[in-house]
């Protein structure tokens, strides 16, 4: 009955996590580095979802961006250069209960680790893969990366890089068993947060390429995209990243995109790779693609009785 004392009492969860519960060491990235925005977004998502820190694992390779696990107060694995994905697969394959986040740079993932990238996509284990794409090797101080734009002057191409850059979205959309591909930018925290949240919700390997500013070595690379949002194309629709109408207004170019249409996704990625109409949002999502866990986790939850019955069945085969 209304007004009774029992109605007043709140259902208090046993543990409530605040942002601080996810904060690790003080981030030692350069002022203005896009990595800081990603860190904040991930911490907020975990807080919103009340994900226990001890049930969360951040795995990285080597690079500035791969310092990510140190700044999270979750389990962290700062691995070898290029090897974040197979380590994450190792964790996930036997601990599907853990929430796995991978932080990897354009060098780490698309250069020295590119072989693993193709196969992790095919395994499609349930994890979020964040590609911090600053178009340069940051930690080793400005060498050309596979995603460096043509003409970028670096310490390994002092006259400017000449090869066409690798486009991670086009690559992903060509890999077997791809199940989730999105793109966002570090300088729009709302879109960044919303995109990562969608990635987190997806079951399978969710790949998010984050266009990430490096004020120290590639300040000019994303400057125009940042100054002139008409170079971006906001993907919207019932099944796409939903952001506040006020934030949507920032994007003069918007397009309806159905993420189940891989042909359309490839076309968007292809246009974006030319530097015009760079798509932001979910390009592709297919929750029906098989996950590695679908095959290996069968029977993990089996009861003691069922186990005994199975054993008995086997032993019965030897009955004379």
């Amino acid at each position: 009955m209304f007004g009774l004392k029992s109605d007043w009492s709140l259902e208090l969860p046993e543990r409530y996590f605040t942002l601080e519960d996810y904060e690790g060491g003080v981030a030692r990235w350069c002022p203005g580095c896009g990595d800081l925005a990603v860190l904040t977004a991930v911490q907020k998502i975990l807080r919103d979802e009340q994900q226990p820190p001890e049930k969360t694992v951040c795995v990285s390779g080597i690079g500035c961006s791969s310092r990510f696990p140190h700044y999270m107060h979750t389990y962290g694995f700062h691995g070898l250069h290029g090897r974040a994905l197979p380590v994450a697969c190792g964790v996930k394959s036997r601990r599907p209960d853990l929430d796995v986040w991978v932080a990897t740079g354009d060098g780490d993932c698309c250069s020295i680790g590119a072989g693993h990238w193709i196969h992790a996509t095919r395994y499609n284990m349930d994890m979020v893969v964040m590609l911090f794409d600053n178009a340069v090797y940051g930690l080793t101080k400005k060498q050309t990366s596979p995603t460096s734009p043509r003409g970028l002057k670096t310490n390994t191409h002092p006259m400017g890089s000449w090869l066409p850059p690798l486009d991670p979205l086009c690559a992903m959309l060509g890999f077997t068993n791809v199940s989730f591909v999105a793109q966002t930018v570090d300088w729009n925290p709302v879109h960044l947060h919303a995109t990562l949240r969608e990635a987190h919700k997806h079951r399978g390997m969710s790949f998010v390429r984050i266009l990430q500013r490096c004020p120290t070595y590639t300040a000019a690379v994303f400057e125009e995209l940042q100054r002139d949002p008409s170079r971006l194309l906001l993907l919207k629709g019932d099944d796409n990243v939903a952001v506040d109408p006020a934030v949507m207004k920032i994007f003069p170019n918007q397009a309806e995109h159905d993420p189940s249409d891989i042909g359309a996704a490839r076309a968007l990625a292809e246009t974006g790779s030319q530097g015009e109409k760079v798509p932001v949002g979910i390009l592709f999502r297919d929750a029906s693609r098989p996950c590695y866990e679908d095959f290996t986790m069968q029977g993990l939850g089996i009861s003691a009785e069922d186990k005994l019955a199975g054993l008995k069945r086997e032993l019965d085969k030897f009955a004379v």
Binding site: L80, H81, G82, T140, P146, N155
Partner: protein, 393 residues
């Protein structure tokens, strides 16, 4: 010859480029490169250089690849095509490259690689430790450890001649200590191209791709592998003699004589000897000088060539030793210092050989640290297990 103020990273790149240009009228120069601290400045300098000949034709190519594994693979392909090849790496880069490091030696390709010695991770540490290149001990490469920037430059030129000699045909690894050398500038004499051309004959690899199609790298049956290993071992055994010839030729062309495979210091009448590699040897010498002033009969040996291991030289040089301290900036876990375990057996009967593991992970090795271990050595009645100096002062 001009004197330039160079870091050892730049000295290495300068030497490689000179050697490469000296091969311009043959198959030119090149290599695959990938950055890693504290070596990146070496390959970055190579990336800045232009290898176009006076006729406008390219005489070299530095391929900026996607990993160390590929860097060595590109060197293998180029070397097989008859090109004079170079690359550089360090620490975990070498670890990742290892499969192709072995392959380069098995293919008998005279590739020269500069390695900046850096601690293997994880946890990550960018400072000096010899464990990374010593891991490649059994790879079939020659290995040299340098003490200063001039030696880095000279040894790269020197090893091209040694490696490309038909009696040898083995790749060579030229090592230098992280930061102590790689990022320290020293006055370095840089030879003229004509001098280098005189010292280095054009590379004429007998098994390069020419006009007789063959496939290398097939399948070996046991007896064939035995023969291949025998040939490889024979090539290693030929090194000391060719080394001495190269010393003479180097001296003639450049007016400096590269050190012997083992470099002795104040060894006459020395009964107590300190053996070390790399830059620690300079500090050791200062301690030896002070001890000599006190009238102590001490001397030092610096192992410059680690592969092939200079057993005969060490046996000769240690003939009068009663006590030997072997300093290792590395540790083979489960055994002890690598230099120490390799050197055992070169000492005379009744000589006490004690291993000191020191300066791991870039830890400072100061004169008083060396003095401490010298005191420890003197006070010993018997050897003990390798002493890890940082944790057991």
């Amino acid at each position: 010859m001009t004197a330039e103020f160079l870091s050892a990273n730049h000295a290495a790149a300068t030497a490689a480029a000179l050697a490469g240009r000296a091969n311009a009228s043959a198959r030119g120069f090149g290599g695959g490169v990938y950055p890693i601290t504290p070596q990146s400045e070496c390959i970055e300098l190579l990336c800045k250089m232009d290898f176009t000949g006076p006729d406008g034709r390219s005489r070299g190519e530095i391929v900026r690849v996607e990993s160390e594994h590929s860097a060595m693979a590109v060197c293998i392909g180029m070397a097989q095509a008859g090109v004079r090849t170079f690359t550089a790496s360090s620490s975990n880069g070498l670890a990742y490259m290892t499969e192709n490091v072995f392959a380069a030696a098995m293919y008998r390709l005279p590739i020269v690689m500069m390695a900046v010695n850096r601690t293997l991770g994880p946890p990550w540490n960018i400072w000096v430790d010899h464990g990374d290149t010593l891991m490649l001990r059994d790879s079939g490469w020659m290995q040299f450890y340098c003490e200063d920037n001039q030696e880095v430059l000279d040894t790269i030129l020197f090893t091209y001649r040694l490696a490309e000699d038909r009696r040898v045909l083995l790749p060579a690894l030229v090592c230098q200590d992280a930061f102590v050398l790689s990022h320290t500038m020293m006055m370095t004499e840089v030879p003229e191209l004509e001098q280098v051309e005189r010292f280095l004959p054009l590379l004429d690899l007998p098994h390069r791709l020419t006009h007789e199609p063959v496939t290398v790298g097939g399948m070996d049956f046991p007896h064939e592998t035995e023969i291949h290993r025998h040939q490889h071992a024979a090539a290693m055994a030929a090194v000391p003699a060719v080394y001495r010839e190269c010393q003479d030729a180097f001296e003639e062309c450049f007016g400096r004589r590269p050190a012997d495979a083992v470099e002795p210091y104040r060894m006459d009448d020395a009964d107590t000897v300190i053996v070390s590699m790399g830059t620690m040897a300079s500090t050791v010498r200062a301690v030896i000088d002070a001890a000599r002033e006190r009238g102590e009969k001490v001397g030092a040996l610096r192992v410059r060539m680690f592969r092939p291991f200079p057993d005969a030289e060490l046996t000769d040089l240690l003939a009068g030793a009663k006590r030997v301290a072997v300093l290792d900036r590395d540790i083979s876990l489960g055994k002890g210092g690598v230099l120490w375990s390799e050197l055992r057996g070169a000492e005379p009967r009744d000589c006490l050989v004690q291993n000191y593991v020191i300066g791991l992970g870039g830890g400072d090795v100061r004169p008083h640290d060396i003095q401490n271990l010298l005191d420890d050595l003197r006070g010993r009645d018997e050897v003990s297990a390798p002493r890890l100096m940082e944790v057991a002062p």
